[in-house]
Symmetry: C2
Subunit: 239 residues, 2 copies
């Protein structure tokens, strides 16, 4: 058993999650003393329809800038501009810069967990442990290096910028994500293919994968499938 500084141990995904703002869904049970309204579902005004969109633009811009410059170096002005707004406007959607960072991480983890779950369910329960590990690694690389891959790198490298309460929230997500790896690693260890203690192996493996954010280039010769093959060979061999 290894004591760890929470989180830091998982990693997750960033394709745009459908964001429910809540505010965009106008309340149907309006005050009864108002003038009569048209029946049926209230039509959304232009600004209501855009609410979710604007918010999403802020979150995506924040993810990109937090990743490129770091949390402290990316100003809320930069983020506003990236979303096509003026300086103070992000604070209409988020109460603080810190809340915006949290939202980037939360959405990233939610997406990563969802795609990991889908990848595992897609194989069925009877798949060989080695193939399950392949699916986990492949999904992890997709989440880190694939199409919309800013959210999880931000989570991985801006952890210290969260306050204690925020860390607890994200840690719950990363713990669940990590836990899904353990049955597969335990099975591979029992079969002799994985030759380190499964808990420590998980931390080392996550490190090997997460670090790819620092060196992987889409222009390079190594695709994500080939990279997955290499990682699999390194950790559990070729057969």
């Amino acid at each position: 058993m290894v004591r760890v500084n929470r989180a830091a141990a998982a990693a997750v995904a960033p394709t745009a999650e459908p964001v429910e703002t809540g505010a965009a869904q106008a309340d149907a049970t309006a005050a009864p003393d108002r003038p009569a309204r048209p029946r049926g579902r209230p039509r959304k005004t232009h600004s209501e329809r855009d609410q979710g969109n604007r918010r999403r633009l802020i979150v995506e811009g924040a993810a990109r800038l937090f990743r490129a410059k770091g949390y402290a170096a990316a100003s809320t002005r930069d983020i506003a501009a990236a979303a096509g707004m003026r300086g103070g406007s992000p604070f209409y959607h988020f109460e603080s810069k810190s809340a915006l960072l949290y939202e980037v991480m939360r959405q990233g983890m939610a997406q990563a967990a969802a795609s990991q779950r889908a990848a595992l369910e897609h194989m069925g329960m009877d798949a060989a442990p080695r193939e399950r590990l392949r699916a986990l690694i492949r999904n992890h690389f997709e989440v880190l290096l694939g199409a919309h891959s800013d959210f999880i790198p931000v989570m991985l490298y801006e952890w210290r910028s969260l306050n204690a309460a925020q860390r607890r929230g994200i840690a719950r997500q990363t713990d669940a994500y990590s836990a899904e790896w353990m049955p597969t690693l335990d099975a591979l260890h029992a079969a002799g293919a994985l030759r380190a203690d499964p808990q420590t192996a998980r931390l080392l493996i996550f490190g090997a994968l997460n670090w790819s954010v620092q060196w992987y280039s889409k222009q390079g010769p190594l695709g994500l499938d080939a990279l997955t093959d290499q990682a699999l060979a390194l950790f559990v061999g070729n057969n």
Copy 2:
């Protein structure tokens, strides 16, 4: 062959390097029209004797604060206070905050490269590849997690805060550090113990090791020797 975003691939050490300030070593060939000076080596004044010490205090404080809070979030005022100085005084020793960051990384890499070289030479050329890899991994963990381990984590996680010229300087150090791993990895690959392409393996292995900065705790049950055993088992098995 894998194209990488330079650096990011190595890692190095932080125990205090004896810093030659140059300024501390008073020039013996003084102007000839000065009044006669006492013969022999000139005595250092109080401030001359302290010069190197003060500078080192700044660098060490900067390393600690850059690691704890990140480069952008650690102010030069914080650093001055950590070195027992007033606000503007670090700029007497360094021309900019950025130059201070560079110096932290440069010293860290110099120390790491030195201890790695010593570790390899200590074994001799005829040591088994597996034992050479053990020595490399053990030194790397020492550099990352050992006694004075702030310098290299700063280098690993603040790379993007350097400008282009600075990156080239540090990249030269990290490239040399990384290159020393390749003969050993090639040999292990040829012998069948390392089952991934050696270049890709090096990147994945460095990731696994470097990530330990995020989760390793000295209060935990795993010492650096045991951790080295686990990593070795994961990458090249137990025998």
